[in-house]
């Protein structure tokens, strides 16, 4: 079975200026994923599907994940000069992680019996630039799943043949699966 690193090398061989990054996975499942840049995602997806050595013809799962901005405290070693003497101290530094929405796809090859390959696409932010290219023209199984990601997370998929809400009613305005969503009737529910 090919590792994501080998698949990344194969992609870079076909698209030399592609931005592909391997994101490690901390769990024992060891399913690291490939982060693709949105601009090249559709070409790379077509390559993954059609390349005779890869043949990822089956997109099993397409889902969205919300990563809001988080403040992370990290210990950083800094060199400081105190009274003329250079000291190395550890400082607690606050850093904000970037906020974005993510679309994760799990690909399998029915022809070669391989998988899963996990690919990720990230939006620029969670507010006004939450758009990604749709992979429905490559794998039709993403059709309803991308509609669901649009409905529940708010990622706008460019090139989707029929992008509208799928689970909530049409004039619903919120995106309920976002982490900061508060239901309208939250006060009614008993704790």
């Amino acid at each position: 079975m090919q590792t994501p690193e080998q698949i990344k090398d194969r992609i870079l061989a076909a698209f030399p200026d592609a931005q592909v990054e391997v994101i490690p996975n901390g769990s024992p499942a060891s399913q690291p994923s490939l982060l693709l840049a949105p601009t090249q995602a559709r070409q790379i997806a077509k390559f993954l599907r059609d390349d005779p050595a890869l043949r990822f013809d089956y997109a099993s799962n397409a889902t969205g994940v919300d990563w809001p901005e988080k403040t992370v405290k990290e210990k950083v070693k800094r060199k400081k000069v105190v009274d003329g003497v250079e000291n190395e101290t550890e400082e607690l530094v606050e850093r904000k992680t970037p906020a974005f929405l993510e679309a994760v796809y799990h690909l399998y090859s029915m022809a070669l019996g391989r998988g899963p390959l996990v690919i990720r696409l990230r939006t620029a932010n969670r507010a006004d630039n939450a758009a990604l290219p749709s992979l429905t023209p490559i794998w039709r199984s993403c059709e309803f799943q991308e509609r669901e990601i649009f409905d529940l997370f708010g990622i706008f998929f460019q090139g989707h043949p029929d992008l509208r809400r799928i689970l909530m009613w049409d004039n619903f305005v919120d995106h309920p699966m976002r982490k900061d969503y508060v239901p309208a009737d939250a006060a009614e529910v008993l704790p």
Partner: protein, 382 residues
């Protein structure tokens, strides 16, 4: 009437003007599949466009799971595909076991296979019953199928305490061991199932109404099936050899000898026959499993169930449920609740090709084609 976008309004013939009729089938509809709606545009009786509408049973299972602990989500998985609760449990605990690296004792693996195959048996039998009811055989095949289902539900009730929402599997094993005499009772049920299937097939397979209404109807080509993500008996009816029990060999399925039936043209009749043949193969697996099951523990006594906090990471685990590939994608951030909990619903994704299969057919065939896909709304809408 103005034709919907993309549809050619029919031309007038012999100075009789034609119109297209848009009909909403559902969400309240006699076909027993739940609250599902299809907006069908008809030219006479022929389907010109079909748009499914979902969400009438969207119970926000995924959002609730982000607040619950990992253990508390197991009863919610029962209610996804509410006819097959055991296989839903297994898909979820398999994903958590991948996320945490827990090992499962051998006896528990055998019990999992036994209850999963029993679930497959009654799911396929009930599907045959529902499909025949949609064709007009109001009740009789369903009565026979439900009679067998009741025998298997008695087994589940004595094992887990509940007929339908079993809540039986746990991370690293099963909740409670088999009671005395359970294996013998299961063997009796399995032994009687063969003759039930013979009886069922003798009554139904050659029935001319079934054959006339299902052969050549709703053909799904293999290439479209793979690209659209169709899995389960619908995919194999189109001739694609992909059964996750053979591909991933999760659990201990590599120890059992069974075949994977394949269809030839992917019409409704092939999908119906898939279920019948798969029931026969499940009986073979059950015979072997009931014979070979060892004694032993069913869960590691030190396995942590409550307040499980997997290390940060993610995992995707999938099984061959009676409907298709049921997968769970979990992202853990180290907390007691999953950061992201996603159900990959086979019923929803199998519906991607509903319109393709129905175009050009009469509206009466739409009900049959929908019935042959085998959907359960709890899974479609979650």
């Amino acid at each position: 009437m103005i034709a919907p976008p993309g549809i050619q309004a029919p031309a007038a013939v012999d100075s009789i003007s034609h119109d297209l009729l848009e009909v909403a089938m559902g969400p309240h509809h006699p076909s027993t599949h739940g609250v599902f709606r299809m907006n069908v545009v008809l030219d006479g009786e022929t389907v010109v466009k079909l748009t499914p509408v979902f969400g009438y049973l969207h119970r926000n299972h995924e959002k609730i799971a982000e607040k619950n602990s990992y253990l508390a989500s197991i009863p919610y998985t029962d209610r996804l595909d509410y006819i097959c609760s055991m296989t839903n449990n297994w898909a979820y605990v398999l994903s958590v076991e991948k996320l945490t690296g827990l090992a499962v004792p051998e006896r528990a693996e055998y019990i999992r296979v036994i209850v999963a195959e029993l679930t497959r048996l009654f799911n396929h039998a009930c599907l045959a019953g529902f499909l025949l009811q949609d064709m007009g055989a109001l009740g009789t095949p369903m009565m026979y199928a439900f009679r067998e289902r009741e025998k298997i539900l008695d087994l589940f009730e004595s094992l887990t305490g509940s007929r339908m929402m079993c809540n039986y599997m746990r991370f690293g094993g099963c909740r409670c061991d088999l009671t005395a005499g359970w294996l013998e009772q299961a063997a009796t049920v399995v032994a009687g199932f063969d003759s039930f299937l013979d009886h069922f097939e003798a009554l139904l397979n050659g029935n001319e109404i079934l054959c006339a209404r299902s052969q050549g109807v709703g053909v799904l080509p293999a290439g479209l099936a793979v690209n659209a993500g169709v899995t389960g008996p619908g995919l194999r009816a189109s001739g694609v050899n992909y059964d996750i029990r053979k591909v991933d060999q999760y659990g201990i399925y590599n120890r059992f000898k069974f075949r994977v039936p394949l269809g030839r043209c992917g019409d409704v009749f092939d999908r119906y026959m898939m279920r019948i043949l798969e029931m026969r193969e499940s009986l073979k697996i059950l015979g072997q499993a009931l014979h070979d099951i060892p004694a032993g523990a069913i869960i590691d006594p030190k396995a942590k169930l409550r307040n499980l906090r997997p290390k940060p990471g993610e995992a995707y685990g999938r099984i061959e449920s009676p409907k298709g590939e049921l997968g769970f994608y979990l992202i853990s951030d180290g907390g007691s609740a999953p950061y992201r909990y996603r159900v990959r619903p086979p019923s929803l994704i199998n519906l991607t090709v509903l319109e393709d299969m129905c175009l050009g057919h009469a509206i009466a065939d739409v009900v049959i084609i929908l019935g042959s896909i085998d959907i359960v709304l709890g899974e479609v809408d979650r």
